[in-house]
Amino acid sequence: MSTQARSFTPYLFMAPAAAVLVVALLYPIAYMIYASFLDWNPSQRIGQATFVGLRNYTSLWSDANFRESFGVTLKFASLVVSIEMILGVGLAMLLDRSIRGMTVLRTIFILPMMIAPIVVGLIWRYMYHPTVGIFNRTLNSLGFESVPWLSDSFWSLTSIIIADIWQWTPFIFILSLAALQSLPRSALEAARIDGASGWQQIVYIKLPLMMPVLIVTLLLRLIDAFKVLEVVLVMTNGGPGLSTEILSLRIARTASEFRELGVAAAMSNYLLILLMILTAIMFTYTRLSEARAARLRQMSEEG
């Protein structure tokens, strides 16, 4: 085989994948950035839309609905991620021992993440149902009043948060358990011999050693929390009012119901910028902690 033919081979192997990515991913994103400067509705071709400059971006900030939906998104994401982190890491600490049935638990725990978000929404909508749902039935049979799970603005946000916690706590549990079980045994052994209590081991040894994985887990989860859409769509469709209208739902509605594609594109860009900042933080953090680990290793080798 000639060297010239060999040097073409990698391009031949890469070409189909690269072509698809350019046509169906990079082009759409560029298209969206362009569309965000237009006043464009779905019945027009993009060429017929009028150019409005930054109007879509600036008008969003004076739009009370957008601001409310942005606030709901921030509230939802920060609440679910912090509760899930506490529960997931806590459970991992508690169950970090060779217990029979751990494999079964882990398998069952990934089920909520594997089934369609639409189905998750469906299940919870049924459980929250005012008359046939299990929550109100149980409350009623115990002699309590029914709770307006999905029809009151406070409760509906709580309800979608509970559903998200059910679906995603296992993710954090599985990741932190993996991190825990790959900790250096020697450090834990030394702490135990020095008489550190269970709590002291957790606070001074385990948590600091797990920190790099925990931070990455936190950021991954945070990124995903901003992407949630289907579960909320099925459960509340953003209501009542705008109490559960998270940003990605607002984007979808602006595009399909209000038929303002330019505004929806501008909103998408805001969301994308927010997520890019999070990703950048994550990258910088991993780089920094890798560099620090390398320096420590070098120091210990020299010393």
Binding site: F13, S98, I108, M114
Partner: protein, 295 residues
């Protein structure tokens, strides 16, 4: 609470495990149970677990795919059966194409050292970041107005949505397959090349058979995304090509909800991912944790 004491099994942990398992699986079980109930049983306030299971809801959903005519139906609504077919076609085709393109690209990236692994993990992560909602506007615009041949546009067709799903899944698939290809001993490939195999033969006959676990993990992730996706499917597909998630949402907005039938549809939609989970939980967990633990 020192570790030494807790090495033996304490009953409290057994109880905790059981509670966790029930909490995780209970809601899913409830969906399946409801799908086996008649409307009367769902509405009655007494029975929770005591009911006579029936397949009637499934017969309603699948009426046009059955070989007999269900006795309880006056009219057969073909929506769900058709959607199931669309879902299967779209998910299977996009999985196959993604894997074909993904394995080749991953192989090129590993063996021909072109672009670093850093670039790939960066792209993967960037793609993970893009929410489907962000792709909604541009993909709608492009498939409706741009990608057309003589007024036949890709919007509403299987090809259009498959193209988007392939693009959405490729970065992750390439990234996860790389870690498997790196482990294939290069001596095997060199031996094959000595025997006169060309790069494509080396790839198809030597490398691919060795990375089957990786292929399994990658195909599960791809299939799952294409099978479960709602937003883009809703915007891009028309009446005849709609997938199951879209029909579920549509039937919910109707005035009165037939929970038994909807839950039967939901169960049908959930069955493939559930099977994958039990067959390949190890590969799935590897795929999930790889991103965070290895950066």
């Amino acid at each position: 609470m020192s570790g030494v004491i807790n090495q033996r099994q304490s009953p409290a942990f057994g109880v905790l495990m059981v509670i966790l398992i029930i909490m995780a699986i209970g809601p899913i079980m409830m969906m399946i149970a409801t799908s086996l109930k008649l409307d009367v049983d769902i509405m009655s306030s007494t029975s929770g677990l005591l009911f006579l299971p029936t397949l009637q809801n499934y017969e309603t959903v699948l009426c046009n795919a059955l070989w007999y005519e269900p006795a309880h139906l006056d009219y057969c609504d073909p929506t769900f059966g058709r959607a199931l077919k669309s879902s299967l076609i779209i998910a299977l085709v996009s999985t196959i194409i993604t894997l074909m393109l993904g394995t080749m690209a991953a192989y090129a990236l590993v063996r021909f050292r072109f672009m670093g692994r850093g670039v790939i993990s960066m792209t993967t992560l960037l793609m993970r970041m893009v929410p489907p909602a962000v792709l909604l506007v541009p993909v709608f615009g492009i498939l409706t107005f741009d990608f057309c041949i003589n007024d036949n546009c890709l919007a509403g067709t299987y090809s259009g949505i498959v193209l988007i799903y392939v693009a959405m899944n490729l970065p992750f698939v390439i990234w996860i397959l790389q870690s498997f290809i790196v482990q294939v001993p290069i001596q095997l490939e060199e031996a094959a090349r000595m025997d006169g195999a060309n790069p494509f033969q080396v790839f198809y006959l030597v490398v691919l058979p060795l990375i089957k676990p990786g292929l399994a993990a990658a195909s599960i992730f791809t299939f799952r995304i294409a099978w479960n996706e709602y937003l883009l499917a809703n915007a891009l597909l028309d009446r005849n090509t709609r997938t199951v998630p879209v029909t579920i949402v549509n039937s919910l907005t109707g005035y009165d909800t037939d929970w038994g039938v909807i839950m039967a549809t939901g169960t049908l939609l959930a069955i493939p991912p559930i099977i994958f989970t039990f067959v390949a939980s190890k590969q799935i967990i590897t795929g999930m944790t790889a991103g965070a633990v290895k950066g």
